[in-house]
């Protein structure tokens, strides 16, 4: 657990499901992630002592101990409880009473306090505004900035979709479409020579699949998520009930994303006239199952999409591409 950061600049992906930090050390970029989740357990000295001995990240809040980050999943399984999230739909959950404390603890664990003798820049990702929730985005962005400032960092934010472009589209001079399919949202950004032209988010993403599938199957959303991440592949037919239910809602997410993409581009009357077809990159945990890209491309090709797309490809490292893009933004600012 780092308490003092030694990196020159940091990229931070603040996702509904995971927090990922990217650090450049020499020629190499290193990533570290934590589940953006927590469980609460009753406070007792014995429990707290045990957690300390095992180096389990936790904090004490009144009569409860909060176990946050990666360990929360194990404790949720042990206690047969749902993990809780400090964020929902891409932004801090103002209704979750522990959200600020948890996110702060997670950031302290991931980033550490700034090394006073090194660079202090951190660029963190923010979603594009979901329709009807602009206020919550302001709260989200400013709160994260405040926490990072408190840790000693000079914090700037970057749109999540743009971070994907910075991470993956160097070969096209940072021109193209970046899509990050996360837990709470799918974020889309069209960029031209590194500058965002159109950004928006779609509120159907991984959590929608987990919750919908959990409702239908009677399973816990936790278990649906683990199944989805461990063994799900998207080929259209399953004999297993849970896989079949997941595939139905996955299809819904992809269809909704493609439809939103087409409508957004069509309704934006002044799109740039690109001199050549542009690439589209998919990233994020929700886009990872085998077959996702193929199905997305298939549906997109059936649309009369207003921009000619040269290729639809997966990010080289879908879980880390937004953090890498945020790091590129931080380093290119210096």
């Amino acid at each position: 657990m780092a308490l003092v950061s030694s990196a020159s600049a940091l990229g931070l992906d603040v996702g509904t499901s995971r927090l990922v930090v990217a650090r450049q050390t020499g020629d190499e970029i290193r990533y570290e992630s934590q589940l953006n989740a927590f469980v609460t357990i009753p406070n007792s000295k014995i429990t707290e002592g045990a957690l300390k001995r095992e180096h389990v990240p936790h904090s004490v809040l009144g009569n409860e101990i909060i176990v946050q980050g990666n360990e929360s999943e194990k404790f949720a399984s042990l206690l047969n409880a749902e993990i809780r999230r400090p964020m929902t739909r891409g932004v801090l959950d103002a209704r979750e009473s522990s959200s600020l404390q948890v996110i702060r603890e997670l950031l302290v664990n991931l980033l550490g306090y700034r090394d006073p003798f090194r660079e202090r820049k951190v660029t963190f990702t923010v979603p594009a505004a979901p329709l009807g929730a602009e206020g919550s985005l302001t709260f989200h962005e400013k709160t994260l900035r405040q926490i990072l400032n408190d840790l000693g960092y000079e914090a700037t934010s970057i749109n999540e979709g743009l971070a994907v472009v910075y991470s993956e589209l160097e070969s096209s001079n940072y021109t193209g479409i970046g899509i990050s399919c996360g837990g709470g949202l799918c974020n889309v950004c069209l960029a031209y020579l590194s500058v965002p032209v159109l950004s928006f988010s779609v509120p159907k993403a991984g959590d929608f699949i987990d919750l919908s599938a959990a409702q239908v199957s009677g399973e816990r959303a936790n278990r649906i998520r683990l199944t989805k991440e461990d063994s799900f592949h998207f080929n259209g037919f399953f004999s297993d009930k849970i896989h079949q239910v997941i595939s139905v809602y996955y299809e819904d997410v992809i269809q909704n994303l493609v439809k939103s993409l087409k409508e957004a581009f069509e309704r934006t009357g002044n799109l740039p006239k690109f001199s050549r077809p542009i690439p589209l990159v998919l990233s994020g945990g929700t886009a990872m199952p085998t077959g996702f890209r193929d199905r997305f491309e298939q549906l997109l090709s059936q649309q009369d999409f207003p921009v000619t797309v040269s290729e639809v490809r997966m990010a080289s490292n879908p879980l880390y591409s937004t953090a890498k893009g945020a790091l590129a933004a931080a380093l290119s600012d210096s």
Partner: protein, 399 residues
């Protein structure tokens, strides 16, 4: 390309392609590339509103276009900040660039007496002229998407407006010390009597509290400002007023000591009230005239305010909500006050209004008229409330 999307020359793209290091190429493009109609990061991107709002009725969509106009402008600020656009004013005042060491995460009071307050960042406030006025009243925050009822209310100071006193000035030299002191003293007595500002910074950089922060000062009068939270109208209750003993036409005469004190005072107030950087603006940026529906009724700091020296972004880039939300226009007086300099926020605001009018199939005149009606409805209601409360909220006191 979108109308306000400035395409780079082919040379930029060719030059970028020659750069082999991806990071260097990104750095080059972010500095030399096109300027966007939407933000890169940090603030809500408003293009989604444009693309997700169904077009229902003329009036509704007109408001929707207004949201896009207002917030796309706010977004432009966000992009330009993240792109490290150099601040013109900062370039002129290199000696005033804030220190590069670790900035304080908070400023707190370390000493207080009957005559002085001392703060952790070195700020000293002279209390010998401090006075009360009427208590700060609850003020409304109006939605970016139209309507004449406030969407929320607050009593806390939300921003800072910087002024110049436009008072008589003596040459800033040792031989004029006595005259400088006398003029400063007379000015303080005047602004105290008129409750003109919350703070005055005299020629020597001394900070005087004039009106208590808990009270409203008559500094902003008819005024409008907008940020990502909404639009603020008549800022006496919502913004704190800081005045430099200075004349805006002779801003070069403002002393380094005055700017240093203003930075420390700004840091203290921002820390105390959690004031956002984008809400620290100049009087010329907020002042409006409801009679002729023009901005820039007062022109102090219409140009040349050293935002960078205040550790603030160049807020001249911020699109003026008075134009985009309420259809205000401007005239030759303001252009003259700008002294031929570009005011990017004003230029972009005008373009956005023209674009929104075109997208609605309306003329710019008709579109502005629709926006102006909204302002007049809000203004009439505020005036009614003011008269009911028997408080002249729109007073401005200036020598």
């Amino acid at each position: 390309m979108p109308e306000n999307f400035i395409q780079p020359s082919d040379a930029v793209e060719r030059e970028a392609a020659k750069i082999t290091d991806p990071l260097e190429r990104l750095r080059y493009l972010r500095r030399q590339g096109p300027k966007p109609p939407a933000p890169a990061a940090g603030l809500p991107e408003m293009l989604p509103l444009e693309v997700t709002m169904p077009r229902q009725t003329f009036r509704w969509t007109t408001w929707a276009a207004a949201i896009t106009v207002v917030t796309a402008g706010l977004g432009l600020w966000g992009y330009q900040m993240s792109a490290n656009t150099p601040a013109k004013t900062a370039a002129k005042l290199p000696a005033l660039t804030p220190p590069t060491g670790a900035l304080p995460t908070g400023v707190w009071q370390v000493e207080t007496s009957a005559t002085e307050e001392v703060y952790s960042n070195g700020l000293r406030i002279d209390l010998s002229f401090a006075t009360k006025n009427r208590p700060r009243e609850e003020y409304g925050i109006f939605a970016l998407d139209g309507g004449t009822e406030p969407v929320s209310k607050s009593r806390a100071p939300h921003g800072i407006v910087y002024h110049t006193t436009e008072s008589d000035l003596a040459p800033f030299e040792e031989a004029s010390s006595e005259k400088l002191a006398t003029l400063g003293h007379l000015l303080l007595r005047f602004v105290r009597r008129e409750h003109s500002y919350h703070y005055l910074i005299d020629r020597f950089g001394r900070v005087y509290r004039v009106v208590e922060e808990s009270d409203a000062a008559n500094h902003a009068g008819y005024s409008v400002w907008g940020d990502s939270r909404g639009v603020y109208v008549n800022l006496n209750d919502s913004f704190l007023g800081i005045a430099f003993e200075a004349k805006t036409d002779n801003a070069a005469d403002v002393s380094a000591a005055q700017f240093t004190s203003a930075r420390m005072l700004t840091e203290m107030l921002r820390s105390k009230y959690k004031i956002a950087r984008e809400d620290c603006v100049t009087h010329a940026q907020v002042s409006v005239n409801p009679l002729n529906m023009r901005i820039g009724n007062h022109t102090d700091w219409a140009h040349g305010f050293p935002f960078a020296a205040m550790n603030l972004p160049d807020n001249y880039l911020t699109t003026l909500a008075a134009v985009t939300a309420f259809g205000f226009t401007h005239d030759e007086v303001l252009l003259k006050a700008e002294a031929g300099r570009d005011w990017p926020g004003l230029v972009v605001a005008d373009k956005l209004v023209a674009k929104a009018a075109a997208s609605e199939g309306s003329t710019e005149v008709r579109y502005r008229s629709m926006l102006q009606h909204r302002y007049k409805d809000i203004f009439a209601e505020l005036k009614r409330q003011s008269e009911k409360g028997n408080e002249p909220h729109s007073q401005e006191g200036k020598q």
